[in-house]
């Protein structure tokens, strides 16, 4: 099945119907000479849609450890690496920066759960609480050892060209369950990750599918989204004001043959209006009982994970949770100290999120993805002026092999897929390219990744371009 082709034509019905869903104030809208609102069978670009076939997952949470967490220090234990510590490994791969001898993981690993999944001490809470839910892919690979292209590859399926992000594709394919909240939210505390808004861009898809950035560092729910509280008008009066605006914009668009950009902007006001109430509530973690708040922890990560659950619970389709601004996991120096610190910040919160989703019966329908844009080298990074502090205790970028894991949403729990070589450098067996990961995610959401397409400039585009294979072994 082709998803609806989106020339300018496709949008017209969409918009008309949209009007009819905002019945309020319509009486006052009757303006002679302007097009009247006609309810047709079409739907808003964001209204919920059925996937091609029934998928297990209905929502996605992407926990983005930006900067690149080290696989051999988290979910891919390598005893062989320990043996070679300080020695040259019999494996030579080009790295982005100069690298040297093997560096063993400073952390110990332990088996957790019935599955006996091995998890590093720095993620012990995740291990304890949800090892049997995790589907760990140890054989991930990307294309280059640079942050920007790798972020784009992981988020948009192409490291070079401005393509729509996974969240945009999913929202395009499925719409969203709650019209009063954005369908796709990207949270990052304290600023943007590198490559900024490109990470959640809608590319050639309509702007309605773009991720909505929220600075989750703010504690006050009203401050999480700037200007969320109208201070100049009562709500009912603001509704009337916006109805009048819509009326003007309708006439303007009608006279201009329904330009898609005009439509998108028209819709953005409706979304903003509704967000004012619903978003404040969704972001207000103080409305959670104390034991839940304690479970997540009163920390930045705890709060943003709890907000994530509240958003997904309210029908938000795709939530991206970034660890922090910039690239916090990019530990070229002091890996032990920094990885311990970073994992310490989110371990409890992630464990709580998965436990909580499970407790509420939401995990089956929510696909959680954990990982970075790539991993890190098992060999130590050598000093290089200007690029590291020369401490010889960190790891360089590694796109040859790294680990991500998924949970819920129809994946096998307590499962390990694929492996890296003995040292954890490159994917060795059952390799999974980022395109394959995307194909599998779409499959879990009910889409054939080759058929979820969008017609643009004379060609059918898709998230996986001409690549990607669904990895059956990951499916429950």
């Amino acid at each position: 099945m082709k998803h609806h082709e989106q020339g300018h034509g496709g949008y017209i019905g969409t918009r008309r119907e949209f009007l009819s869903r905002y019945g309020m104030g319509m009486g006052a809208l009757a303006m002679g000479g302007l097009p009247s609102a006609v309810a047709s069978g079409a739907t808003s670009p964001l209204s919920p849609k059925m996937p091609q076939k029934r998928g297990k997952a209905k929502a996605v949470i992407h926990l983005f450890m930006n900067g690149g967490p080290s696989q051999v220090d988290t979910f891919d234990p390598k005893p062989e690496l320990t043996k070679y510590d300080g020695k040259k490994i019999p494996l030579e791969l080009k790295t982005e920066r100069p690298t040297g001898m093997a560096m063993k993981s400073p952390f110990s690993f332990k088996k957790y759960g019935e599955s006996g999944l091995e998890v590093s001490e720095i993620f012990s809470k995740v291990g304890e609480a949800c090892a049997d839910e995790l589907c760990v892919i140890r054989s991930m690979r990307a294309e280059v050892p640079n942050h920007e292209p790798s972020l784009l590859l992981m988020n948009c399926g192409d490291s070079r060209l401005p393509r729509p992000s996974v969240g945009s594709w999913v929202t395009y394919g499925l719409g969203t369950e709650n019209q009063n909240l954005p369908g796709f939210v990207s949270m990052c505390p304290g600023g943007y990750p590198i490559s900024r808004t490109q990470n959640w861009q809608s590319g050639f898809l309509p702007a309605a599918y773009q991720g909505n950035y929220v600075d989750s560092k703010n504690k006050d729910p009203k401050k999480l989204i700037e200007h969320i509280v109208p201070k100049h008008l009562e709500r009912s009066k603001q509704r009337e004001q916006l109805d009048f605006l819509r009326q003007l914009n309708e006439k303007h668009a009608e006279e201009r043959g329904r330009d898609q950009e005009l439509e998108a902007r028209l819709e953005s006001f409706e979304l903003a209006y509704r967000m004012q109430l619903e978003a404040t509530d969704a972001f207000d973690v103080s409305k959670e009982p104390k034991y839940i708040r304690e479970m997540y922890g009163d920390t930045l990560q705890g709060r943003q994970m709890l907000i994530t659950r509240r958003l997904v619970e309210r029908g938000v389709r795709f939530v991206q949770v970034w660890h922090g601004a910039g690239q916090p996991w990019d530990n070229h120096d002091d890996l032990e100290v920094n990885h311990r610190k970073l994992a310490g910040q989110c371990d409890q919160a992630i464990a709580a999120l998965i436990t909580d989703l499970k407790m509420r019966g939401m995990l089956d329908e929510t696909l959680v993805l954990w990982g970075g844009e790539f991993g890190r080298t098992p060999v130590v990074e050598m000093p290089k002026k200007g690029t590291n502090a020369g401490k010889i205790n960190g790891r360089d970028h590694n796109h040859y092999g790294f680990t991500t894991w998924m949970a819920g949403g129809g994946v096998k729990g307590g499962h390990v897929h694929g492996s890296t070589d003995d040292f954890g450098f490159a994917a060795a067996t059952d390799k999974v390219h980022v395109h394959d990961l995307h194909a599998t995610m779409l499959h879990l959401l009910g889409f054939d990744h080759e058929a979820l397409t969008y017609r643009y400039s004379g060609r059918d585009f898709r998230l996986t371009d001409v690549h990607g294979e669904v990895i059956e072994d990951l499916l429950a």
Binding site: V144, Y192, E226, G257, D259
Partner: protein
């Protein structure tokens, strides 16, 4: 072979990191790694279209060259161009392109009545628009995106954050556009003004090299890499890294080129002491500044002296370079030193009297560059001469004079280099027409496919050079084509077949960027401050500046939310083309930001609700009258739009003794409600409410009134406090509007009391009053009381957070609607 490849790849990858660029270009095959898509090869890269000299297209000459070239392609594609847009449309389009503003009243009067027609009219009007000083304010910003302009050093730097004199570069760019400085000279001055014996005022051009991100100690090479990037990508549309992606030995730009340029830029640096562009006139303000400046500097030296006894205060008081001393300071001392010295910079940045200075560079010891080889990052590899890029270099040509920066500057625009003119022509076209001819205005490298309209691009590039690199001439050349004057509305079939408008058979409908929208909104509201140049202003905090957006302070890495929401560049690196997003965040800002309400209020000042006023408002904002239908619909809405006096559920008033009739405080200004402009007010005395509390009168209690929006059971919390130890305190009560008292708390002077009530049932529409009286003695009765109301779900109302002024009156609401409408936001 293999060996060669390995070393090349390694050094490429190192330098990628080393350069610290955001790499969108060619990364897929940058390293020739497996699994990356193969590059599109167009023979050898030397044959790449952009490396060929522009070819003068053959023209019949019956039409404007642009029209003729476009018509050819349109014919090939089977497209028929649409007709000419109305004069009013072209007028707004033209002013938007040239000035980022709307035509003002006098301009409208002149140009709407002008006798000329069609493109003749456009040509004449273009020349008039380009002669306005507002042209430079608009076009400077296009270049400042490229120049990664910011008023601060960058996110990593927390102290001494300011570039106190970056604005002199910005103002130089504005001036350069206004006087139509030939583009080649514009480039030369920015790269090498110091070596050109250029007049002092032109030294500010060197900000191009110095306003980029600063890197802390020992990372100077990153700064040099940034200079190479902004120069090669910014001027030539060429990334050194990108051009080096290719696996062939015949790469047009080898690794060595980067180091050749490295040597050029690394030979110069920004001196500690920047030259004054002018000596301010003597004034008490200036004298005060000098004194304060000196005092702050002395404090730094005094501190160092106290830490290091042998320290000698330098002759130049403002030399904190601390060439030898910093390593003698310990961490705490160093922090203190930074703190003290940043106060000096802060004063320079903030004081209106600090003299303008140019952010120049000076030549130092000439750098003889080496290539670094993989494996020995610190070690030097092959030595390379300072010279221009290999692909455009003549055999054996090396830079001879000093660092060669002046030669480089000249080389950027000489006729052996086909890129610079094309790159600038493409960007000018993009800003004038709305979309570029080459989609990647910062990358003309081998990865970039030959544009559909290459002949047109070549024509524009050659036109630019032939017309002495005059940007204004090129703009006029474009706007006086029939093609530029077409309607943006087009038959559905045309749009469907050419959604991206590659054939230019119609005009682009353009959404105003942040600057154009904000500036024109200021303009129609009568608030626009037309002064040219000067120190940066804060845009996002009240009292909101009325200066043009180009003068807003750009804090690298910490853009205000409004700038971020509206796609303003982050200034981390050169940006040639902004992204354009549509988000509810933009809508929230437009709906709820007080900065917009200020503009709306100004716009309707003195008007009362009437059809005439409505017409005036339409005229001011849209430059057209409201249609009969619009007028009647607007009037219908305005009648129902009458707002509650305040914006929300809270009201601020008083009760007289033995009465239950709540009266409102009439005046709101600067965050407080009072009886009138004077305090005490002749009638209402000291009565007052602000966000935190208020003041009662002897015979009148100050009352905060809250209206319930829905039925519920509430908990009320808060602390009533009388801060001063004088007087006799106050009494606070929570009441219903029928006089029922729900709680009462006498609070003595200097004391406080928690005002907690639970289980307070309210019905929708019912009021709760928070009344404070003066216990018979009104002096020293200022109090704090900002109650919070909550139910089981959480907070329902909060007097402090929700404190607000007057609601927006209907006409101001109308003005706001028009300012954020698509008609105002888009240019047809």
């Amino acid at each position: 072979m293999r060996k060669w490849k390995d070393t090349k790849r390694a050094s490429v990858s190192n330098h990628v990191r080393f350069l610290g660029f955001i790499i969108f270009l060619g990364t897929g095959n940058l390293f020739g790694f497996p699994n990356s898509p193969a590059p599109k090869k167009e023979g050898t890269s030397k044959a790449h279209w952009a490396f060929q000299h522009p070819v003068k297209p053959t023209l019949e000459g019956k039409l404007h060259p642009i029209d003729e070239l476009l018509a050819r392609k349109q014919k090939e594609g089977g497209f028929e161009a649409v007709g000419e847009a109305s004069r009013a449309t072209r007028f707004r389009r033209l002013w938007h392109v040239a000035t980022g503003l709307l035509p003002n009243k006098a301009e409208r009067k002149q140009w709407m009545a002008d006798k000329r027609a069609g493109v003749e009219w456009t040509k004449a009007a273009t020349q008039a628009a380009l002669a306005s000083k507002t042209f430079g304010e608009r076009w400077s910003r296009h270049w400042l995106d490229v120049a990664r302009y910011a008023d601060t050093r960058g996110a990593a730097v927390t102290q001494n954050e300011d570039y106190p004199y970056a604005y002199t570069y910005r103002d130089w760019v504005i001036g350069a556009f206004n006087k139509d400085l030939p583009y080649d000279r514009f480039v030369h001055l920015q790269v090498a003004a110091d070596l050109m014996k250029a007049p002092l005022e032109d030294q500010a051009a060197l900000g191009f090299l110095t306003v980029g991100r600063a890197y802390q100690g020992g990372q100077r090479h990153l700064l040099v890499a940034d200079q190479i990037d902004v120069t090669t990508r910014g001027v030539m549309g060429l990334t050194v890294t990108c051009a080096r992606c290719h696996d062939h030995k015949s790469d047009p730009i080898p690794t060595a080129d980067f180091y050749s340029l490295y040597g050029v830029f690394a030979s110069a640096s920004m001196p500690k002491n920047l030259p004054k562009l002018s000596e301010p006139e003597d004034s008490p303000g200036y004298r005060e500044f000098k004194e304060e400046h000196r005092k702050l500097a002395m404090e730094v030296h005094k501190f160092i002296k106290s830490a290091i006894p042998e320290y000698e205060t330098p002759k130049d008081l403002f030399d904190f370079s601390m060439r030898k001393t910093p390593h003698k300071l310990n961490q705490t001392q160093r922090d203190k030193f930074r703190k003290l010295s940043s106060k000096v910079t802060e004063l320079e940045a903030k004081s209106l009297y600090s003299p303008d200075r140019a952010m120049i560079v000076r030549e130092g010891k000439v750098n003889n560059p080496y290539i670094f080889t993989r494996g020995n990052p610190g070690a030097r590899g092959e030595k390379v001469p300072r010279q221009f890029l290999k692909i455009f270099r003549e055999e054996g040509e090396v830079f001879k004079n000093g660092s060669g920066r002046l030669e480089l500057a000249m080389r950027l625009t000489d006729d052996r280099n086909p890129l610079t003119a094309r790159v600038w022509a493409n960007r000018v076209w993009m800003h004038v027409v709305g979309t570029p001819l080459v989609d990647t205005p910062g990358d003309f490298g081998v990865e970039t496919a030959k544009p559909k309209q290459l002949e047109l691009l070549d024509h524009l590039a050659l036109f630019l050079v032939e017309n002495k690199w005059s940007t204004k001439a090129l703009i006029t050349h474009i706007t006086s084509s029939q093609s530029w004057n077409r309607e943006s509305k087009a038959p559905a079939g045309l749009i469907e077949r050419d959604p991206e408008n590659r054939y230019f058979a119609r005009s682009n409908r353009v959404r105003k960027d942040l600057e154009a929208w904000r500036d024109s909104a200021l303009q129609v509201s009568g608030r626009l401050d037309g002064n040219l140049g000067g120190k940066p202003v804060t845009l996002d905090k009240a009292p909101f500046s009325d200066r043009r957006t180009v003068y807003g302070r750009v804090r690298r890495g910490y853009l205000p939310a409004v700038m971020r929401a509206f796609d303003f560049p982050g200034s981390e690196e050169a940006l040639m083309r902004r992204s354009e997003t549509t988000t509810p965040m933009q809508a929230l800002y437009l709906m709820n930001s007080p900065s917009l309400h200020v503009k709306a209020r100004s716009l309707v000042k003195g008007l009362t609700v009437s059809p005439e006023s409505v017409q005036q408002i339409y005229q001011r904002i849209f430059h057209r009258p409201a249609s009969v239908e619009e007028l009647s619909a607007t009037m219908t809405w305005l009648k129902s739009a009458a707002t509650h006096r305040t914006a929300g559920a809270w009201d601020y008033g008083y009760l007289t003794k033995d009465s239950l009739e709540l009266k409102s405080l009439p005046r709101y200004k600067d965050g407080r409600w009072t009886g009138g402009p004077e305090m005490p007010d002749p009638k209402l005395g000291w009565l007052m409410w602000n966000a935190a509390g208020g003041h009662p009168e002897l015979d009148k209690s100050a009352v905060l009134s809250w209206k319930a929006m829905e039925d519920g059971e509430l908990t009320i919390e808060g602390v009533l406090k009388v801060p001063t130890p004088n007087g006799n305190g106050v009494r606070g009560r929570v009441m219903r509007s029928d006089g029922t008292v729900l709680g009462e708390w006498p609070v003595d002077q200097g004391k406080e009391s928690a005002t907690r009530l639970t289980g307070v049932k309210v019905k929708a529409g019912e009021h709760l009053w928070f009344a404070v009286d003066s216990r018979g003695e009104q002096s020293h009765d200022s109090f704090y009381w900002a109650p919070r109301l909550s139910d089981v779900r959480g907070e329902v109302a909060n007097a402090k957070d929700e404190f607000g002024g007057l609601g927006l009156k209907p006409l101001a609401q109308l003005a706001q609607v028009l300012l954020l409408s698509n008609e105002f936001f888009f240019v047809d």
